[in-house]
């Protein structure tokens, strides 16, 4: 292959590239103000950091909400003066009111799923990694990219403002099922709070669409010379499928929301029929179907969980291979299973609706398709385990979180097999079993993938390292804590303890869980506090952390490590390097690693 024009990429196989000096960073010469550099930035790296930090703010808000409602669950009826300080009239006398409890649960779910694990995870890493890892100066459209962030920001502002309206934020669960979400008279949270919730989510859909179109176009069109699709790191493949899932499933949610807005404000009855509200009487609405909303919602809702987990899978594959000093096991199988998951994501949504009145015959098809997902999932898990097998493991914090991700994915994935079965689901649906399942397999695993990414790419983002000791404390407490919180919930769920109840102490059958619920609450508080430790580590290290002195501190093959330590807008000084091989030549022919920019030697086998 012709190698002309490749500048600044040495072929010193197996060596860390010499550090470039600071003046290499100012590749671009146009004037930058504070506003254009930090606020309305069009640099994908800055936008990624904006997504990350906004996501972290929301994680703290959403996480704190879970601590608050866990206080009620662990100590029902007991008074905590701090709750009144924080929540005011929503916790008169230090006890959370039922309305506030439901509002907290709802907002916790919405915020964590959409703002943290969607925007915070794929927004951050798609923006940061796509141009850097495919060898592009920026996204296809930096302007749309900036808009994508600001729509997300606006969605956040609207959601935040809904917390402060007099009737409170929406409180009908993050799935916003009608009639509760459609009728303002149904509950206080269904009034203004729900309108703001819908506006916020509509803005979020726009943000996600703008971002997703950009990611797809960038990956397809802007790969550097030699970067064929099968030489892409698995992070990019995962983010590519994530973007496609988002672009094709969010619009269906938007349609569902538009119909809901009409039902709320314009007297239609798309989702409403035969309803009687206490104190209001029978409603005239006729002919609609609440199940219709569930179909529209879950047509997004199920792909949404893969929108969360696929980027985590991609990050884990990359971080794990780098730190095992071994090629990822079964690259094509990894890619194929990502594809299979992305396709299956669209044809399993009704497994969320087995007990909704769905035709059981139709349900049986969804059981089959749902259980099929176990196949690509298992392929991925075994490939991660075989990547670790006999690897030269370096237990960096990113690596630990990657291994933790696999552990969580196995634990949570196995319970998915129970829940995907429509017969078992009759017993398990809407119990703590499902809470345990999706928190482990989507929530915790997604967050673990995000942490793996943050720990791994922090040196690239800020040119400094995070503190190792704090990182290890953070990992071990979070891992142990996550299992201690969610594992016991399986037992509660199998015993029939329903989700979304305000107080279980009135039920004889659940009195056995009083101690367990207190235990879960205590662990949740400890784990939340540990996340604050991570925040401290993050912001402290951003300014005061140990400086990165070599260009490629992890000895990684991918292109982002061929840029200067603090890359400017445009990423590479001089020309963009050409790519000659896949991203996973670790431990090949006696070399520790071979960068993607190194031409294939005459005595090497090709990939």
């Amino acid at each position: 292959m012709n190698n002309e024009g490749v500048i600044g990429t040495q072929t010193d196989v197996g060596h860390v590239h010499a550090a470039h000096h600071d003046h290499d960073g100012d590749h671009h010469h146009h004037h930058e103000t504070f506003i254009s550099k930090y606020i309305f930035s069009m640099d994908h790296k800055m936008i990624a950091k904006q997504f990350l930090i906004t996501g972290m703010v929301w994680a703290i808000i959403g996480g704190l909400m879970s601590v608050l409602f866990r206080m009620q669950l662990g100590y029902p009826g007991e008074s905590f003066p701090i709750l009144e300080t924080l929540l005011g009239k929503w916790a008169k006398g230090g006890t959370i009111t039922p309305e506030a409890y439901y509002a907290l649960v709802t907002t916790h779910g919405t915020v964590l799923v959409f703002f943290v694990l969607t925007a915070g995870l794929s927004g951050t890493f798609a923006n940061f990694l796509i141009p850097l890892q495919i060898g592009a100066r920026d996204m296809a459209s930096p302007f749309m990219n900036m808009l994508s962030y600001w729509f997300f920001f606006a969605a956040g502002v609207v959601m935040l403002s809904s917390i402060f309206v007099e009737t409170g934020p929406f409180s009908g669960g993050w799935t916003a099922y009608p009639p509760l979400s459609a009728l303002g008279s149904a509950s206080p949270g269904s009034k203004t709070g729900m309108d703001l919730w819908l506006i916020s989510m509509a803005l979020f859909v726009v943000s996600s669409l703008l971002g997703g179109l950009n990611y797809i176009a960038t990956i397809l069109n802007m790969r550097t010379k030699g970067m064929s699709m099968t030489r892409l790191p698995l992070t990019i493949w995962a983010l590519f499928f994530t973007a496609i899932l988002g672009v094709l499933s969010f619009p269906v949610l938007l349609s569902g929301f538009i119909l809901l807005i009409f039902d709320r404000n314009f007297g239609t009855s798309f989702y409403l029929s035969d309803i009687f509200i206490q104190g209001v009487g029978a409603l005239p609405n006729e002919g609609g179907s609440a199940i219709l909303y569930q179909h529209l919602f879950w047509f997004l809702g199920h792909p949404e969980v893969y929108i969360i987990i696929l980027p985590a899978m991609g990050i884990v594959s990359e971080v794990m291979s780098t730190n095992a000093r071994k090629p990822i096991f079964g690259y094509m199988a990894m890619l194929g299973s990502l594809f299979a998951i992305a396709v299956l994501a669209f044809v399993v949504w009704a497994h969320h609706m087995f007990v909704s009145g769905l035709n059981p015959f139709l349900g049986s098809f969804f059981v089959l398709l749902t259980l099929l997902i176990a196949v690509p999932s298992a392929i991925k898990v075994f490939n991660w385990l075989t990547t670790l097998w006999r690897g030269n493991l370096r237990f960096t914090a990113g690596m630990l979180y990657s291994i933790g991700f696999v552990s969580m994915f196995i634990s949570g994935g196995l319970t998915g097999i129970f829940l995907g079965n429509s017969a078992l689901d009759i017993h398990l649906h809407d119990t703590y079993f499902i809470i345990a399942h999706f928190h482990i397999v989507m929530g915790v695993a997604g967050i673990f993938g995000m942490y793996a990414g943050i720990y791994h790419w922090f040196p690239k983002m800020f040119g400094r390292y995070l503190n190792n000791t704090l990182s290890y404390i953070h990992f071990w407490v979070t891992l142990a804590g996550a299992y201690l919180i969610f594992w016991p919930m399986h037992y509660e769920g199998l015993a029939g303890m329903p989700r979304r109840y305000y107080d279980y102490s009135n039920w004889e059958s659940f009195k056995q869980f009083v101690g367990l619920n207190q235990f879960i609450t205590i662990v949740a508080i400890i784990v939340f506090a540990t996340q604050l430790l991570f925040l401290f580590n993050f912001f402290y290290s951003m300014y005061k952390g140990r400086k990165v002195t070599s260009q490629n501190p992890w000895g990684s093959n991918t292109l982002e490590w061929t840029t200067p330590i603090n890359p400017g807008h445009g990423n590479w000084v001089g020309e963009i390097p050409e790519v000659h091989r896949w991203a996973y030549d670790y431990g090949k022919d006696g070399h520790d690693y071979i960068s993607q920019t190194t031409p294939v030697g005459a005595d090497e086998s090709r990939h």
Partner: protein, 224 residues
């Protein structure tokens, strides 16, 4: 390796170039249209679901039988005219795109102008039809029409009609705005300076898509 150099030119997916030989904007437009197709698809499937689970539905030949100036008793005549206008505007759009390929500014301006006129004419027709239906007592949450078999109908006939044709009309309106921007850019020589009229092509894709969606909306509400 040196021996593989010959094949470089045909490696569309090998990086360094667009695999489909298009700029990113057109790629984004295609993906956006796929996304928008899912939006409309969701609406129409929702409509189908509700309609087929209802006991009856009004007859479109009874509902849509008026023509401005000619009175009633002309089933589907007016909507046929609307559809014809929209399809003709697609034809003029094709001509505008072709003129853009030929870098013929005068022809681009001419055909864009007629496309915009077609779009505005369609929207005006829709406005008349909505107004007429409103006069008859139809609106969101209000349905004066009875089912084909004479039984009382739920409001979902009008609910879906106004929501979905309104959403489509909003798309046509956006298309008209986009086309007006294209017209201004063409008239101020923006595309001449760029050396290509690719923006017109992207606007054209959107316009044809909106047209295609109308075919489905038309079929679902007026024919079936």
């Amino acid at each position: 390796m040196a021996t593989t150099a010959i094949t470089t030119d045909t490696k569309w997916w090998g990086g360094g170039k667009s695999p489909f030989n298009v700029e990113y904007g057109k790629l984004m437009m295609w993906y956006f249209l796929m996304s928008d197709a899912f939006t409309f698809g969701a609406f129409l499937i929702a409509y189908g679901t509700i309609r087929f689970s209802s006991t009856g539905w009004p007859d479109p030949n009874e509902v849509f039988q008026s023509f401005p100036g000619l009175g009633s008793g002309l089933p589907l005549m007016f909507v046929s005219l609307m559809t014809f206008i929209l399809i003709i505007s697609s034809v003029t759009m094709v001509l505008a795109v072709r003129a853009g390929h030929e870098r013929n500014k005068a022809a681009v301006v001419k055909y864009l102008f007629w496309t915009i006129i077609g779009g505005i004419a369609f929207l005006s027709c829709q406005a008349w039809e909505w107004h007429h239906l409103h006069e008859e007592g139809a609106w969101w949450g209000r349905n004066p029409f009875v089912n084909q078999d004479g039984t009382a109908s739920s409001t979902n006939f009008t609910n879906f009609f106004f929501t979905i044709t309104g959403f489509h009309g909003f798309h046509v309106f956006s298309g008209v705005v986009i086309n007006i921007i294209m017209l201004i850019m063409a008239m101020t020589d923006t595309f001449e300076r760029r050396g290509h009229y690719l923006m017109i092509e992207k606007a054209g894709l959107y316009w044809h898509f909106v047209d295609l969606v109308w075919v489905f909306v038309f079929t679902c509400f007026y024919l079936i």
